[in-house]
Amino acid sequence: MAGTSSYQPTNPVAKWIEVRLPIFGFIHSSFVAFPTPRNLNYWWNFGAILTFMLGAQIVTGIILAMHYTPNADLAMSSVESIMRDVNYGWLMRYLHSNGASLFFFAVYVHILRGLYYGSYKEPREILWILGVIIFLLMIAAAFMGYVLPWGQMSFWGATVITNLFTAIPLVGNSVTTWLWGGFSVDNPTLNRFYSLHYLLPFMIAGVVALHIWALHVPGNGNPVGVDVKSSQDTVPFHPYYTIKDVFGLSVFLILFAWLVFYIPNYLGDPDNYVAANPLQTPAHIVPEWYLLPFYAILRAIPNKLVGVLALFGAIAIVAFVPWLDTSRVRSSTFRPIYRQFFWIFVITGLGLGYLGSQPPEGGYVIAARILTIYYFAHFLIVMPVVGLLERPKPLPTSITEAVLAKNAAKA
C-alpha cells in the first residue's frame, strides 16, 4: 500500500524482523503516516466503523459457534441454552444479532456517502466494485445467519429465498434441490448454511483487505472531490483520523448498546421465537429490515424469473455506477440538480423498505412497482442524463483553498 513513510524501527528485534519482512514499515506507511485529506467529514467515519463491526461479528460469532448446535431438532434449544445457561451468552447473541443490523446500517451510510461524493469515479472504480462484492457477501452471510436459530422466519425465509432459484430456466428445480440437499428446506440445508455462515465472514475480510489496498493506491476521496495537489492538503492518518475514528465509533457504540441492552428484540420478528414448523406458514413472511427494499423489488414484479433478475439486478447495477454517471464532477456539493435526485433516491430506498414490510396487495404493490421503476431509472436515466445536462458549480482549486474559504465564511 502506498505511503510516504521511510520508517525504520530502532528496536533491534524489530530491525531484525523488518529486514526480512517489512511489516512495521508497511503498517506505518498505511495506517500511521498515510496522507489523508484534511477535510474529511464525519461521513468518512463509517469505513472504520465497518471494520470494527466486521471484527465484532467474527468474535461474537466464534463464541456463539462454540455453543450452537446446527441440527434441525436442536438448533433452537441450543440458542435458548446460550440465552439462559451460557455465561453472558445472552450478551453474545444480542451483540451478534443486533450487530448484523448495525453492520448493515453502517454499510448503507457508507454506500450512500460514496454515491453522494462520487467516491466511485476514476481512479476508484475497482475500489467501488470490491465494495459491491462485500455488500453481496454480507447479504449472503446475514441471510444464512438468520436461518440458524431455526425459528419460523428462519425456516420460511430460507424457503422463500431458496425457491427463487427455481426460476432459473430448465435447471431451476435441480439447482434448488442441490442447494437444499433434499426435497425441501431441512436439516441438510441448515448444516450447509451454518458451514457457509462461518466461511463467508472470512471471505468478506479478504475482500475488505483488497478494498483497503485499492483505497490506499489513490488515497481517500474527500467532500469537495478535488484531488490532493500538495502535502498541504493532507494530514497523517495518525493521530488526526485515528482519534476522529475512535470518537465516531464511540458515538456509534452508544447506539449499538442502546439496542443490545434495552431493546434487543426491537428489530427482530416475534415469529422467530416460534420453532420452525414446515406445516404452518406464517401470515407474513418478511426478511430482516435491511433486506426489505430488495424484497419489495422482488415482489413488485409479477413474473418470478424477472422478479429474481430485478432483485439481483438492483444490487449488480450499483457496480456499474462508475460508468453510468457521466458527470466530470465528483462531489454532489457542486451538482445542484443531481444533489436533489440523490435525496429522492434515498427516499425511494426508504419507501421500498417500508413496502417490503407490508403484504403484497393492493396499493402497496402499485407503489412498489412505481418505486422499483424509479430505483432503476435513477441509475439508468438520471445518472447519465443529469451528468450531461447539468452545469456544476465552480470547483475550488484545492482542498486547502476549500477549507480556508469555509473557515473564512464561518468566522
Binding site: 484534511r38 477535510n39 434449544s77 435458548e80 441454552s81 440465552m83 439462559r84 445472552w90 450478551l91 444480542y94 494530514v235 493521530p239 488526526y240 482519534i243 476522529k244 475512535v246 470518537f247 464511540s250 458515538v251 457504540l253 452508544i254 448498546a257 442502546w258 443490545v260 441492552f261 434495552y262 431493546i263 434487543p264 428484540n265 426491537y266 416475534p270 415469529d271 421465537y273 416460534v274 420453532a275 401470515a283 445542484p336 440538480i337 436533489q340 435526485f341 429522492i344 427516499i347 425511494t348 419507501g351 417500508y354 413496502l355 414490510s357 407490508q358 393492493g362 396499493g363 402497496y364 402499485i366 407503489a367 412505481i370 418505486l371 424509479y374 477549507v403 480556508l404 473557515n407
Partner: protein
C-alpha cells in the same frame, strides 16, 4: 429541478394511501385500548349479553359462510398497553409477582402447556422469582421424574431435583394435539418474545426511543382477559372460544383459563382474572428473558461509560485538530 420535484411528488402520492392506511390504525385504536382492559376486563366478561340464539343457529358453522360481519383481519382488537415493572431502562421484575405468576402457571397453565427450557433451579435465580434454595428443592421434589436407564437397564421414577426441567403435561406433540381438539398447546418458555403487538411504522419510530419491548406480555394479558361471547352475527367453530385478541383467528382452542378466586394467593394480592393474567404475563416475560434485569443494569453502566468516553474522545480530537484548519 422541476423534473425532480414532479417525480418525487408522483412517487409520494402513490405511496401515500398505503402509508395513511397503516398509520391510522394504531393512532386511532391505541389510546382507547389503553384505558379499557386495565379498568374492567373482568367486568366486560360478565357484562356482554349472550347473543340472540337465532343468529348463532342460522349462521353456517363453515368459515366460508357469507357473513357480512364475520371478521377477516386478526387480531380483531389490538391489545392495550399495560404498565409493567420490568419496562424501561431501570425495569426490574417484582419478585412477589413472579412467585404468584409461577403459582398460576403451575396450577392452571401447566395442565396443558409445557415449559421445556425452564429448570427448577431457575426459580431460585436472583432478579427472577428468587425462591429460597430449600423452597426450590421442595418444588422440584413435588414432581416425579423418569430417569435411567439404571445398571439393570430399567427406567425408574424418582423425585425431581433442582436441575430437572419442568415436566411436560403430554408425552409428545401428537398426544397434546389429541387431547386438545387437534391444536397442541404451544410451549410457553419464550412465549412472551414470540408474540407482539402490531405497532405500524410511526409507533415503531417512537418505540425506539421509549424502549417499548412489552408487546409480548401486553398480548398475553389481553388474550387471557379477552374471552367473551362473540358479537351478534359472528360464529366460531365448535370447541373453540371467541377471543378478539387472538393472533390469527376469531377464536382459540384454549378455553377461558381463569375465573375470579381460582388460584388462592397467600400474599393478599387480589384474586381476580385481571391479576392472574398480569402475574402470569410477568412470569412468562421472565421465563422468556431470565437475564432481563442483569441486561438492563449492565446496559446502564455501559452507556454511561460510552457517553463519558465519547466525550473525552471528542475533546481529545478537538485538541489534536486545534492547529489544522479543516
Amino acid at each position: 429541478m422541476k423534473l425532480a420535484a414532479t417525480i418525487f411528488t408522483a412517487a409520494a402520492l402513490c405511496a401515500l394511501p398505503a402509508l395513511a392506511q397503516d398509520a391510522a390504525a394504531p393512532a386511532a385504536s391505541a389510546p382507547a385500548d389503553q384505558a379499557a382492559p386495565a379498568a374492567a376486563p373482568a367486568a366486560t366478561q360478565q357484562a356482554v349479553p349472550p347473543p340472540a340464539t337465532e343468529q348463532t343457529t342460522t349462521a353456517a358453522p363453515a368459515a366460508s359462510a357469507p357473513q357480512v360481519s364475520q371478521p377477516t383481519e386478526f387480531p380483531i382488537k389490538k391489545p392495550g398497553l399495560q404498565k409493567w415493572s420490568f419496562a424501561g431502562p431501570f425495569g426490574r421484575f417484582d419478585t412477589a409477582q413472579l412467585q404468584r405468576g409461577y403459582q398460576v402457571y403451575k396450577e392452571v397453565c401447566s395442565n396443558c402447556h409445557s415449559m421445556k427450557y425452564m429448570a427448577f433451579r431457575n426459580l431460585g435465580q436472583e432478579g427472577g422469582p428468587h425462591f429460597a434454595a430449600d423452597e426450590v428443592a421442595a418444588l422440584a421434589a413435588s414432581v416425579q421424574v423418569t430417569d435411567g436407564p439404571n445398571d439393570a437397564g430399567d427406567m425408574f421414577q424418582r423425585p425431581g431435583k433442582p436441575s430437572d426441567h419442568f415436566p411436560s403435561p403430554f408425552a409428545d406433540t401428537q398426544a397434546a394435539a389429541a387431547a386438545n381438539g387437534g391444536a397442541p398447546p404451544p410451549d410457553l418458555s419464550v412465549m412472551a418474545k414470540a408474540r407482539g403487538v402490531e405497532r405500524g411504522v410511526l409507533w415503531a419510530v417512537v418505540d425506539f426511543f421509549t424502549q417499548y419491548q412489552e408487546g409480548g406480555p401486553d398480548y398475553i394479558h389481553a388474550l387471557l382477559t379477552g374471552f367473551q361471547d362473540p358479537p351478534a352475527g359472528v360464529t366460531v367453530p365448535e370447541g373453540t372460544y371467541y377471543n378478539p385478541y387472538f393472533l390469527n383467528a376469531a377464536s382459540t382452542h384454549m378455553p377461558p383459563p381463569f375465573k375470579d378466586g381460582l388460584v388462592a394467593y397467600t400474599d393478599g394480592a387480589p384474586q381476580t382474572i385481571d391479576q392472574y393474567a398480569r402475574d402470569v404475563s410477568s412470569f412468562l416475560m421472565w421465563t422468556a428473558e431470565p437475564h432481563l434485569v442483569e441486561r438492563k443494569r449492565i446496559g446502564f453502566e455501559v452507556i454511561i461509560f460510552l457517553v463519558v468516553f465519547a466525550g473525552l474522545m471528542y475533546f481529545t480530537k478537538k485538541r489534536v485538530w486545534e492547529k489544522v484548519a479543516h
